[in-house]
Symmetry: C3
Subunit: 417 residues, 3 copies
Amino acid sequence: MHALVERLFPLCRSITGDGVRQTLEIIGGSLPLTVHEVPSGTAVFDWTVPREWNIRDAYIADATGRRVVDFADSNLHVVSYSVPVSATMTLDELRPHLHTLPEQPDLVPYRTSYYQPDWGFCLSQRTLDSLADGEYRVEIDSTLADGHLTYAEHVVPGRLSDEILISCHVCHPSLANDNLAAIAVATQLAARLAEAERRYTYRFLFMPGTIGSITWLARNAEAVERVRHGLVLACAGDRGSLTYKRSRRGDAGIDRAARYVLESSGRPHRIVDFSPYGYDERQFCSPGFNLGVGCLTRTPYAGYPEYHTSADNPDFVAPEAMADTLETVWEILGVLERDRTYVNLSPFGEPQLGKRGLYEALGGRSDTKQAQLAMLWVLNLSDGEHSLLDVAERSGLPFAAVAGAAAALSDAGLLKE
Amino acid sequence: MHALVERLFPLCRSITGDGVRQTLEIIGGSLPLTVHEVPSGTAVFDWTVPREWNIRDAYIADATGRRVVDFADSNLHVVSYSVPVSATMTLDELRPHLHTLPEQPDLVPYRTSYYQPDWGFCLSQRTLDSLADGEYRVEIDSTLADGHLTYAEHVVPGRLSDEILISCHVCHPSLANDNLAAIAVATQLAARLAEAERRYTYRFLFMPGTIGSITWLARNAEAVERVRHGLVLACAGDRGSLTYKRSRRGDAGIDRAARYVLESSGRPHRIVDFSPYGYDERQFCSPGFNLGVGCLTRTPYAGYPEYHTSADNPDFVAPEAMADTLETVWEILGVLERDRTYVNLSPFGEPQLGKRGLYEALGGRSDTKQAQLAMLWVLNLSDGEHSLLDVAERSGLPFAAVAGAAAALSDAGLLKE
Amino acid sequence: MHALVERLFPLCRSITGDGVRQTLEIIGGSLPLTVHEVPSGTAVFDWTVPREWNIRDAYIADATGRRVVDFADSNLHVVSYSVPVSATMTLDELRPHLHTLPEQPDLVPYRTSYYQPDWGFCLSQRTLDSLADGEYRVEIDSTLADGHLTYAEHVVPGRLSDEILISCHVCHPSLANDNLAAIAVATQLAARLAEAERRYTYRFLFMPGTIGSITWLARNAEAVERVRHGLVLACAGDRGSLTYKRSRRGDAGIDRAARYVLESSGRPHRIVDFSPYGYDERQFCSPGFNLGVGCLTRTPYAGYPEYHTSADNPDFVAPEAMADTLETVWEILGVLERDRTYVNLSPFGEPQLGKRGLYEALGGRSDTKQAQLAMLWVLNLSDGEHSLLDVAERSGLPFAAVAGAAAALSDAGLLKE
């Protein structure tokens, strides 16, 4: 996964443009993607697909011609969606267009101006401080023109048409944790799911933030109807512990499965309530949709000093952190895959497990085994109103033991779905 | 407000009689009141309006003619509703009619006998101890005769016919905190409301306790229907911190607004559950009405040693405490006035706030402003099921910020009520 | 009660057989019992009544003829439901049939093999260690043949046909706390109930565990319909504190009454959630019945080292512990007997209690009496949706005070059921 992060890192992504296309092409190398191109000007709910932005070169050069800030060094140096500029101006005239982080003087910030025509450069405070007064040559060789918004889907079909969404944003330029790590985790997850037995159909979305998810939602009313659960993946690779942010519903299936996995696994973690700020869960959880979509990150949104700066580089992303994120998602999906609600077909008293070979023969011992307890719990709570996850939570038994007991009882004809 | 307390203090109020009329006349000096006179014998639900009680003089005089206990010194000296007496008796014969506070030997208690014909005197234990055996002249020059029960209303009309009740009892004689302080706060509040923009109609009730509120409820079935929220004010001026007692419903609008204001203001306070003992919330919250009426006091019912004694005098009441009570009520009403439930008219994904000038243009910064967050929260939760107070509580944002965001979004056509 | 425990202790009970019959005959000496005999082979839900087991003698004798393990010493020495054996075998051949408690080397364990034809002996680890290699004579003179399952009922009729079940298992051989103590408590309780005024009808069940309750449930569909509350009594005499295990419903009447009594009595206690492991509450709370049946024990299931061993003898059972269990059950039933839901017939404001002699005449005193508060609470909450137990819990007043107030108000015509 880390190799993919490194490979994608240099590309200049934005909410539209060739950087996104190149990113999707590279992901498509390991995962077959369906790429969608939506023309500028297309109405998507309250929004309009913007013009497409592309950039070839940009710099600030001093009187000697030396490039003191150069897009070629890092695509963070240019405010995303900057309109073209070609001008000579004094440092003072330039200043309103320069963005720094005075409290982190060595880092270059990340800035955008998608919907307000503007231009600007981002640079370290140290670089800014080193600039002498005088005239500077300012060039941004960009294009902002009718074109397309680009996003991609990958579907892993399952036995059911019910879908689980996995979504991650692909609009950030050279920022590794935000969001190349999540892209890498999602890519690996899709490959792993393809090998596994699946009940649900999985839909992976690689989209620019906000406008991308709004566009997808606007164009896919039928797929939206099929979404049962979903997870937005972001900031998936820093060394911090995991944070799960609940869906707006707060107790959706994904919320309960994520909480169960995080709590029962012993991983350090935080579970936070939904708030309408963050990643594309904002759109999936808008009141018109209110989908059961949560968001899994490691250190969440704006919670680390490297956030939205040049320090969010591939070194900031740890392979073992990405592996842990992937494993956690895998376990959450495992609960969703196996969770279901049964009805006990022999609900009057306990059925006689012994005659079916499901119960120890020698009574009176107090060291009853977990598997037997799990069967008694599943039988007792299978009244059509408790799912296996309910049983696991109420009994305190591991979900795997409960699911195993349900399978054995189902095989013995004692349960039906 | 303290001047009003001092002016009202000497009057001999009871549940009926001229003391109540004089009190209402003085209040009426600053507030136009509608005074109601309900004849003795009128049936009001399970009760009957009692005979009217008036008193001119009362004393116990010793053998030398010296008045050892004198109504002229304090109207607390006579048990309220004492029947007329004119007799000479020994101290031992008198004793069953004498009430003291042995554990607070310098204070005179407050006693009543409204519904059981009786007579008595209240005096300090020290006075009682100083009385020599022998004969005493006992005179109570009172009248208990058909007359009227007197109460007053003041209405501050609002845009809606929905009403908020503010009620306080006017039946206690020379007790300052209980309840002249609340009378003063209510009077000031009415004046302040008259100057403000109002959605609700406010109805102020100045009534004797229990029989007064029962009489009002029995005579005002239509007004009762219009009551949306209400607050009984009592013990509004002592130096203790505020106590809000919930309505019987426990989560009525007034309960939530009071809790929000008390908790978010940082004031020391207590919130206690409803109990059917206290002031007229007992009647408003009887099961046949079950109104959303809470009770705001400073130190509550019987919670201070001066309670129902001669020590509850104007010195016991602090002007700044009354001001704080008034301000708290004002803030609670402010929440009720501004709280309402909206529907997001653009519920599919977030609406584009930027094109309406409601969102900062330059993205990528992490210092998002409170106003923007408040807009996102209001949009996200405005599904017709969450009020602005819900939004404030769930988001942790100040109610004022949430209400401001709702106003801006409403102006932009994104919300409807 | 302890005398009954001692008298029943030596009998060799199992889930069927003469030990159960003798036990019921002795109980029947103090309590008229209806004894039911259900033939082997009878289908009861998913189960079949097993063959009847009886045993006359059993031993292991060494080469000298000395009985090294002898059923005559303790009926725990034979695995319950052992098939007949008459053989000579080496110690090594015998070992798979010998059960010990290596960590409690002086104690004899209790083992059964009801549904898997098998035989075995239980002995102390010390005895086992003392056995020399060589040949042993092994005799079990038992019968496993078609016969009957035996259980008994005792009904104490009440004014209502609604029933409260009291159930205890009678299938354990020489184990005193598990379950002779509960049998003794139930027997005493029945006698005490016969003397008391009763609203409910009480049905006492003395049955073998699991198969007994399943048999009763299968044969008594109509009685099951009448069950309103129930209590399984077990382990009722050890010196530990009480444990109440909730019904599957968790908030059934019995759950609330038991919690109220345990919490308000100040007894040390534990309240635990339902689990489908333990005693016959497993069957009563199976999803097809889901009855409001909890389980009261002292130290619960498997929670004491003497559990299911020869150390659970009459000395382990304390008369004062049994008395405390009995008293607790009595108090719980007292709450259920008196708890009901009233409607206030004068719900608009408070009714005038004074004119009915229910209220102190002299007002203004702060030392209001509990009885008056209880009346106000009952009147306030009697809207058809709160029971007296609700009133007691919400008011914090003793249930007895609340029930007394309800009785007085009812007599005064202010409440109806």
